[in-house]
Each structure stands twice: as C-alpha cells, then as structure tokens.
C-alpha cells in the first residue's frame, strides 16, 4: 500500500480549514500560520506528484486510488491524475501557496493590505474551495466530480460577498454563483442521462468515467447531450456568451480570491468540459467542434478588444482572462494533437500569469485605493519587483518566445490553422491587441510621473509578496526556457484523449 498522495492533496485543505475554524478568531497570526503550513504541505505534495510523473516518464492515470463509496449506485471515490490534470494540480498548489502569502498583508502606517478582517473565516472558506478544486482535478468518478465541483462553487459566494470590493460585491457574487450553478446543474442532468444510458448499453451501474468512456453512446445521444454538458461546464471556463459573470466576479473579489478564481477556477470549467464533454462524448464533440471554435473565437478577439478599452486596472485583467480562456476552449475544440497540447499548457501558463497579474493589481490597489488607470503612475519606484513581475506576466500574455505563453499559444494556433485557417487569421488579431493593452497598462501604471497625492503615502510591498511574485515568475520563465518540464507530460494526456477520439 503506497501513500495515498491524491487523497492527502484533496482532503488536507478541508482538514486545515476545520482546524482553523476551531481556533480563536482573535489569534490572526496563528490562523495565518496554519494556513501557510497547510498551503506549503499541499504545494509539496502536488510538486511531488508532478515531479514523479514527469521524471518517471509515466503515462495514463497514475497515483490511482479507488474506494467503494456507494456500491449500489456504482459511486466510488476514484482518484487519479494524467498528463492533463497533473499540471493543474500543481497549478492549484502554487496558487494556493501564493494566495496565502498575498493575503497575509500587514497593517502599518494606516495602510492595511491583505486580509485583516476575520482571516480565520477567510482562509477556512478559501481552503474548502481549494479542496473542491483538487477534488475535481483528481476525480475519475463522475458523481464525485460533480460533488467537488459544487464544493468549489459555493465558498466563492461568501468569499466575494464578505471580503470583496464594497461597491459591486453583492451583485457580482450572486451573479457568479447563479451562472455557475445553472451551468453545473445543466451538466449534471447530462451526466445522469449518460449514467442511465450507459446502464442500458452495458448493464453496469457506474459513475466511473473510465467505464463510461467505453459505454458506446449512440451518435444521436452524443449529438444531443454534448452541447449542454460542454457548455454547462464551459460557463465556468468563461466561454462567450456566458462569460459575463467572470470580469464582474474577478473585480469584486479580494486579491487572493481573484487569483484563485481566474487562475484555477476557470481551468476547472475548461477541464471538466474536456473530461466530461469531450472525453465521454467524443462523437458529439466532432459534430459541434466548429461551433465551439466559433464561440471561442469571439472570446479571444472580443475579450481582447474589451480589455483594451477598460480604464479600471482590474477589469483589464478580467477581460484578458476571458480572451485567454477562449484560446483554451479553442484549442480543445480543434480536437487535434497540437491544439489540445497547446490548450493543456495554456491552462497552466494562464493560471500562473493571471494569478500574478491579480496579485500585482491587489498590491497597487491596497496602497492607492483606486484602480482607475489614468489616476495611477510611477509605481515602479516604490515596488520595482512587482513591476518586473507584471512585465514578465505581460510578455507571457503576449505569447513572447522564451516565456510559457509562447509554448502554449503557438501550438494552439497551429491546430486552429489546420482545422479552419480563417479562424486562425482572425484570432491572430487578438495577439496584437493584447500586446497593445498590456504595454499601455504597464506604461501608465508603473512608469511616468507618480501623481502628487501618492507621494510619501505608498508603502513598499512586503517580503511575503516578493516571495509570491518570484515563485510565479520563475515558473513562467522556466517553462518558457525548458518546455520539456511540461510539454511531454501534457502530450501523454493528449494521446489519451486522441485515443478516445478514434485517432481522427
């Protein structure tokens, strides 16, 4: 019996959150230390899983654990990671770790950064959410996937509504929750339909996705259910026209939650859409592939243009996420080797990049108390490291060679070109627009003259903030310079999906 790594990864955060809830609320630093300890533990575990998978050159589902949960209905607690999900587990570990660092904050000179109001509840809810996220990435059982998916959704409401931006939090939190809940229950009905039809076909009652893959769903069934299931999950991936909740949600959320939200949660949607939509209903995916590519194109181009015209720093990043997540959906929908490979890497790359963006936005906002871009300027003098981090993130987001964004976006465009060259031409526009808005924001916020009212009031960022920024930057540059620490692994995951698609 080997050590149950995945169970530990999934359940450690929820255990930590229970411990925190039992602590006295006034002991803020004690609570934060527990949170940091748990985050480090989770980062270590997910790093171990990732490195083992990579260095041993493994393929297929590894670290598999399976426990009977409700045998009568064929529900099992079935965990396993493959080349697609292992990077996402690592991503979640990284974002969790940096999120705790960013939220630690400080209260000094009348400036309060991070989370100072009820950190106990904040970290507890954040970690429940983290458990849900890990659970979805690791689950090989459809029922449990839904179970963890919902767990990842509802703490978001509380996290935004309690600690969010006071002006829009109630509206944005409710909007987000309802969008995501509607999406997930629509998918749930599709999942139940698969469950019963698989039973009719094979005579086995099971929610196990590896068995459902072999259930032999008819073409008509797949054509009917693919769209609801895929789009239901893709709502969380921010697909157009169901993306509306996402920029509002990002902006209203506190910094660490935005990081989690854009960095990890949106991948949750894309990943579940892939695993349940494309992998269980591959024939349906072929039928609707062009439609999804079309929707994703709107995401990519429209998102970039909207980001360009925003004057709120955080909305710029929020819409850039919509644009970049469009690339992920587009890559998956090509159903080609290149497209999926790029999309797999893009999920990781964008997660790290956007977490960094939101972290820096939070650092600026906590000190300037405004996110209106024309009012900002000259921040490079006070927080040089944050500026460097933001610029690196910007380069990633433009798809500059030498950074992880290039490794991700180049194959996606190759795949799209093969599927439909016109779409590729249209979406290339987004790269130009992205470059434009990223450079514009960098110039206006970090360079130029600092407005007089900020002189002397802006404090430097904390040591913990610096650790978070450096960690995130190292990952982006590392993958950019040494693609082999991620690409071969994602490739094994893609092979697995292509096998289900029948090598077409």
């Amino acid at each position: 019996m080997t050590f149950p790594f995945l169970s530990a990864i999934v359940f450690a955060p929820i255990a930590a959150s229970l411990v925190m809830l039992l602590m006295p609320g006034g002991r803020k630093n004690l609570v934060r230390s527990i949170a940091l300890g748990a985050a480090v533990l989770n980062l270590g575990l997910s790093l171990w899983v990732y490195i083992t998978y990579l260095t041993r050159g493994l393929t297929g589902y590894q670290f598999v654990e399976q426990y009977e949960w409700l045998p009568v209905l064929g529900i099992t607690l079935h965990f396993g990671v493959d080349g697609m999900s292992a990077p996402l587990v690592l991503l979640t570990g990284v974002v969790m770790f940096t999120g705790v660092l960013i939220s630690w904050g400080e209260e000094r000179h009348g400036v309060s950064t991070g989370i100072q109001d009820r950190p106990r509840e904040f970290f507890a809810f954040l970690f429940i959410l983290a458990s849900g996220v890990f659970g979805v990435f690791c689950s090989l059982d459809l029922f449990m996937l839904f179970f963890f998916y919902e767990i990842a959704v509802f703490p978001m409401y509380l996290l935004i509504v309690i600690w969010g931006w006071i002006q829009t939090r109630e509206y944005a939190a409710m909007k987000l929750t309802l969008y995501l809940f509607i999406g997930s229950v629509v998918s749930l009905v599709g999942g139940l339909a698969m469950y019963w039809v698989a039973y009719q076909n094979t005579g086995v009652l099971t929610f196990d996705m590896l068995q459902l893959e072999q259930a032999g769903f008819s073409q008509a069934f797949q054509d009917f259910w693919f769209l609801p299931v895929f789009l239901g999950f893709a709502v969380l991936g921010g697909i157009w026209p169901f993306h509306n909740w996402s920029p509002d949600g990002h902006v209203a959320a506190p910094t660490a939650v935005s990081m989690f939200h854009a960095g990890v949660l949106m991948k949750l949607g894309a990943f579940a859409a892939l695993r349940v939509g494309i992998m269980l209903l591959p024939e349906g995916a072929k039928t609707w592939s062009l439609l999804i590519i079309g929707l994703a194109t709107v995401n990519v181009v429209y998102g970039a243009f909207i980001a360009f015209v925003q004057t709120d720093f955080k909305y710029v990043i929020g819409f850039s996420s919509v644009s970049h997540m469009g690339l992920v959906a587009m890559g998956f929908a090509t159903l080609s080797r290149e497209g999926m490979l790029g999309a797999g890497v893009q999920m990781f790359s964008h997660g790290i990049m956007t977490a960094l963006f939101f972290a820096v936005v939070g650092m600026v906002y906590d000190r300037a108390h405004t996110r209106h871009i024309p009012d900002l300027g000259g921040f490079v003098k006070i927080m040089p490291l944050a500026a460097v981090g933001f610029i690196i993130g910007g380069l990633v987001s433009m798809g500059m060679p030498g950074f992880s964004g290039f490794i991700a976006e180049f194959p996606i465009f190759m795949g799209v070109w093969k599927a439909q060259w016109l779409v590729a031409v249209i979406s290339i526009v987004s790269i130009v627009v992205t470059a434009a808005y990223v450079m514009l924001v960098i110039r206006r916020v970090f360079f130029g003259q600092m407005p007089e009212k900020f002189e002397g009031h802006i404090t430097p960022i904390t040591a913990l903030d610096k650790v978070a920024i450096v960690t995130l930057c190292l990952l982006m540059v590392g993958i950019g310079l040494f693609p082999r620490i991620m690409v071969p692994m994602v490739q094994t995951g893609v092979e697995n999906i292509l096998r289900l698609l029948g090598g077409s």
Binding site: E68, W69, E150, E170, T177, F181, V185, V189, L192, A193
Partner: protein, 491 residues
Amino acid sequence: MFSSQMILSVLPEILILALALFLLGVEPFLKTERRRNLGWLTAAGLVISVIASLCFSRPGEPVSTLGGMIRYDWLGFFFKMLFMCAAAATALLFMGHEQVGQRGEAYLLLLAATLGLNLMASAGDLVMLYLAIETASIPLYVLSGFMLSDRHSTEAGFKYLLFGALSSAVTLYGFSLILGITGTTDIYAIGSSLRSGELAPALGFVVLVLILVGLGFKAAFVPFHFWAPDVYHGAPTPVSGFLSTASKAAGFAVITRLFFVAFPDFAGGWTLVLAVISAITMTVGNLLALPQTNLKRLLAYSSISHAGYVLIGVLAIPREGTTWGFPELGAASVVFYLAAYIFTNLLAFGIVMAFTGATGLEDIRDLAGLSRRSPGLGLMMLAAFLSLAGMPPFAGFVAKVFVFAAGVQADYVWLVVVGIINSIVGVYYYLNVLKYVYLYRLPDEDEEKHPVRLPGSYALVLTTLTLVVILVGTVFAPWFAWSYAGAANLF
C-alpha cells in the same frame, strides 16, 4: 394468536407510551421552574427507545402483524427511527422556549404526536391509518396553539384545526368509498381486489383525489398548503420545526406505501396529476419564498417547495409493467430525501429558535452581524441553508441528485428540469439569508458586545444536527442502504 413478533413490531410505540406514562407520573413532583428538565428526560428516553428498537426490533422479511393492522417492514421502521430522532431534537428545543418549556403537557403532547406518526408510517390497514393520522394531528393542533397569550399562536392552532379537520373528513370519505368498492380495509388486500375487480377509472380517480387531499394537507403541497405559512409562523418555533419535518415526512411515508401498494396503475391519469402537482408545488413554494422577510415564513415556503422535490421521487416509483434498470431508486430516493430534509430543516428551525430565544427577533434583517455575534451559530446556519439549497458536502446535495437521477430514469426529464430551475431560485434566496448573516453588520458595528448565547440543550442539539447533516452528505452509503432496504420492501 399471540407472538413475540407482534410485540416487536410495535416495540418503539410501546416504549414511547411507557415514556409518556413515566413523564406523567414524574411531572407533578417537579416544581414549575424545574419542569424544563422534562425535556432532557423526554429526549433521553426517545434516544434510548431508538437504540433499543435498533437492537431488538429490526424487521426481517416484511409481514403484517396484529391482524393486519401493522405492516412490519424496513420502510416503516426507518421512518419511525427518523420521527423519534426528530422528536428528541424537538424536545430539547422545547426546553429553551419560554412559554412551552416549563409546561409538562408539551412533552406529553409531543410524544403522543410521535406515536401517531410512527403508526402512520407502519399502518397496514385503512382504519389504523385513519386513527394514526388523528392521533398525530390532535396533539399537534394543541401544540400549535400552545401560547394562549399570543394572538398568532392561537390563530395558528385554530387554523390548523379547521384545515386539518376538513381534510381528514374528506380523506375518511375516500376511505369509506374504498371499503364500499372492495369490501376490505387491508391496504395489501385492496391492491389485489382492485386489480381483479372492475372499477370504473373515473371512480378510482375520485377516490384517489379524496385521499390525496388529506395526505397533501399533511405533507403540505400545493394546493393544500395554505395553512402552512400561517401555522409555521404563529406556532411556537420548535413545533413549526416538527410540523415541517416529521409530520410532513409521515404524509409522504403514507403516500409512498398507500399509492403504490393499494393503487396499482389502474387509473392512468393520476400520475400526471401528481407530476403537475409536483411542478406547481416547487414553483409556488420557491416563488413565494422570494419576497418573505420573516425567517419562519421563508422556511415555511421553502418547506412547501421541498415537498415538490420529494414528489419527483414518488413519481419515479415504478408501476406495474415498467422495466427499469434500478426500480428501487425512486422509493429509496424519497426516503433518503426525507431523511436528509428532516435533519436539515430541524437544524434550520432550531437555529431560528435559538436566535429568537436570545434576541426576541425573527426577521431576516435582524440576522445582520450574526456571524460576528456568534461565529458558531453562523456556521451552523451556513450548513443548514446550504443543505437546503442542495450544496455539497451537506445532505441536501446528495438527496437532490438521487431524486433527480430517479426522475431522469423514469423519463420525467421535464419535471427534473423544472426542479432544477427551482433549485436555482432556491439558491438565490437561501444565499440571500446567508448574506445577512455574514455580510451585514449591526448599526453600531460592535457585535462583540451583543453576543448570542446558546443554552446547553441548544448547543447539544444543534451541533449534533449539523454533524448529522454533514455526515449524511458525505458518508451516504449507510443511509442509502437503509433507504434502499425500505424501498425494496415495497415490491
């Protein structure tokens, strides 16, 4: 003809009766201000009875005992255990109620009602069933109007009595028609004589509708729900909790048994009627819950809508001639849903009780700052309301998934879609309540100075219920196994 099986089949009821007699004997010797402690006695007695029943009187093969009056099977047994647990929790909640807790009659009436509910769940004969319904109802009428000095409470008691008496008369009329048609009152004999005999579908339909009135009143689904919001609002809060959980579940226990044992699918249209009722119940309950500002009324409408979800499961119980992969799922999901719902809603009402008891307020607005005034109570509220909304890891999620799964299997996809739309509406208003608990603050923003203190009995019962709600929602195998055993007994 006397056998030990007869005793065993009614062992829980015998124990309840003994407990009631014991309380009756003890009560006069206690000083008025110490009569509150009868709550501990009642709860402890009920818990002991549950344990004793679990140890000694677990049913084997389903049999009819006591001349066919009692059906001794898992379906009834599981419900009995649930009712007794609910009554134990309610007894503890009584203790904290100013005008109820000190009066010994309250505990006796509660036990009498529980006795009736138990018999409802296991009645095998229409006569027994009717007696059980009355035994359960009359004490509850009294309990609803228990606070004589409170205008709302007396109104609640009287309203409940009027509606109850009317609907039980209608039901009795339905029963008498059955006796006239089939010549028997044994539920298990009715089915076979209806199958063989020639009964005009129209007449069968009328009979079913008449019976549905009475049971629909108990289970509070639309259009027999009008009493519920007023009664839940006016009655002492623990009584509302009991009415909305155990009493409602007993209605469903009877529906599940009666309709599918005594009335095979001979009057085709009635499943459609039930489906429409289910859709309307969910929708009306949820829509009317939206504008509520009073917590108890909100919970009343929410509990109406939950009756609609349960009906989806009821409809998914297969009639003769259907071949499904997993025929027991429909009934099992009903039982599971009710179990999850009983614990969740008791928790919700318990929290309202605790809050009202400490502050005297019961508006949603008054919950502002609760999570700071009492973090523990805030968390329990979170568990209760998210479970009602159907979010994991709480009991409500699994229960809803099972019911929906059964609905999809039974080809009621449209009904499941209605259910899903409704649960989204539900999420909205449940989260709205949590917004008050977690986001808004007291006007002076100094919640530390206004803590909400919980009496010991409340802390015990609420913590236990919270744990159960989480346990049912995560480790659902044993609960489902019991529900499944109950469902299998139907066939």
